[in-house]
């Protein structure tokens, strides 16, 4: 436990702040990488997920691809891309986007599928076009689950962005890898503790947002659980 205290002291030591390898610079890099990855992954996965959720087509393909990506070791992917595009930020960025897409995609289409079919039928019956149904019924009602998907993705990305510095991509992995190389356990611990704090902060922020985005008047959609089952796959009793 002594080492643990040393790790915290290392993280608080003023001499480790400021400059290119200052803690605050590395935290900023880490957060910027994570945000950038989430933004790019969202741009790709949300429209795709909405299309799958709205039409009900391609769902099994999406599940299959997501499963395959789960089996894909991120470290290996990151390193092989680094070997191709050279060391730096690009390789970890691509690898992290690949990692983040399945969660966001699942959140997007699960959100649409969880919408009560009767609400969609009603919207169609009052004369809404398909685009209006997507934009004004399905998207708002599915938002809590989409945020849930972003929450999982954000956690994964913050955790895995540690590996970015292994190929020279920056971020908080710097302290961990430098500590490993020089056998500086307090430094490794400091880096680890800061990453854990960021991960938990991300969880906290997203859980609040998830609660805020539930449309007024809808309490049934309140996310008790991120993995809410869709109404489509539920079978009738008997």
């Amino acid at each position: 436990m002594n080492l643990f205290v040393e790790g915290i002291l290392w993280a608080l030591d003023p001499s480790h702040y400021g400059g290119r390898n200052g803690i605050e610079t590395r935290v900023e890099q880490h957060l910027l990488i994570s945000l950038g990855v989430l933004a790019v992954a969202s741009l790709i996965a949300i429209p795709l997920g909405y299309a799958i959720g709205h039409t009900g087509r391609g769902r099994s393909l999406a599940i299959g691809v997501s499963g395959a990506i789960r089996a894909l070791p991120t470290l290996g992917l990151l390193i092989i891309i680094a070997l191709i595009v050279n060391v730096g930020l690009l390789a970890p960025f691509i690898a992290l986007v690949v990692l983040a897409i399945p969660s966001v995609l699942a959140g997007a289409y699960a959100g649409f599928e969880a919408v009560d079919r009767r609400a969609i039928d009603a919207a169609r019956a009052v004369g809404m076009t398909e685009l209006q149904i997507v934009g004004r019924v399905e998207a708002p009602l599915g938002l809590p689950l989409l945020i849930g998907g972003l929450r999982t993705a954000s956690l994964q990305v913050i955790a895995t962005a540690v590996l970015a510095d292994y190929v020279g991509g920056g971020g908080l992995g710097h302290f961990i890898f430098l500590g490993l190389k020089t056998n500086d356990y307090p430094q490794m611990l400091a880096g680890s503790i800061i990453v854990i704090v960021l991960a938990i902060a991300s969880e906290a922020v997203f859980s609040i947002v998830q609660r805020l985005v539930v449309p007024a008047g809808v309490s049934a959609g309140r996310p008790q659980d991120v993995r809410v089952r869709s109404t489509r796959s539920r079978t009738a009793p008997g």
Binding site: R70, A71, L72, P73, G76, I158, V167, I176, L180, T235
Partner: protein
């Protein structure tokens, strides 16, 4: 390709090392999740507490956990037990909830019938509730198996041998074939163990295959009706 031919021995050793690290957490997280899942459903206070507690484990990034864990359990940083414990914790993060949900999903009528025909508490749990929760447990452990086998590779950056060693070594020496071999073998192992679990599920729960066939037919019909409507 040359690299692959010349390093068959090394690859074999790493596959074995990889499995020795990855398999125990898969089994342990299944076995340990059963009593915890049971406890979660047993009392009013326990469900929220246990599910939130184990769920939080998932929020801890892997590499930092590998580094902090030795301080708590007193192993060496490069000890493979360190990795096994960390991966078991991740497995539990998912399995405790899955098992609790699976056990809770057993039809109350079935429970009543079971105690009606004379099952005692313990045999009712092991011979009625646990088997009926089986398909849910299987689905959970398949996810755990695939992600555990993939996560095991991260141990290589702190110096624990596994297929991940092919990534770190290949990166340092600039051998793309070595890294690619590691990626492909990790995926093959993950899919292989996943397939094995499915097979094991078929053998242990022969009734599931029949059931799922019926459900999917009904679902297809519902889907067709939905299109027509």
């Amino acid at each position: 390709m040359n690299w692959l031919v010349n390093n068959g021995d090394l690859i074999g050793q790493l596959v074995v090392a990889h499995l020795l690290i990855a398999i125990p957490p898969i089994i342990l997280s299944l076995v340990i999740s059963v009593p915890i899942g049971w406890l979660a459903n047993r009392y009013a206070w326990s469900r929220g507490t246990l599910l939130t507690g184990f769920g939080l484990l998932y929020a801890i990034p892997s590499l930092p956990l590998f580094i902090i864990l030795p301080l708590i359990i007193g192993t060496g940083l490069r000890d493979s037990i360190n990795l096994v414990v960390a991966l078991t914790l991740y497995g539990l993060a998912l399995m405790v909830r899955t098992t609790a949900d699976g056990l809770a999903s057993v039809d109350p009528d079935v429970r009543q019938s079971a105690s009606g025909v004379g099952f005692s508490g313990r045999s009712q749990f092991f011979r009625v509730e646990l088997p009926l929760a089986g398909p849910v447990l299987l689905a959970g452990i398949r996810v755990v198996a695939v992600s555990t086998i993939s996560l095991t590779t991260v141990g290589a950056v702190i110096g624990i041998s596994s297929l991940g060693s092919l990534f770190t070594d290949g990166f340092q020496r600039g051998i793309g074939a070595e890294i690619l071999t590691g990626i492909v073998l990790t995926i093959i192992l993950a899919l292989g163990v996943d397939g094995l679990l499915v097979l094991l599920g078929r053998i242990l729960m022969p009734w599931v295959a029949v059931n799922s066939g019926r459900v999917s037919r009904r679902e297809r019909r519902r889907a067709r009706l939905a299109v027509v409507a």
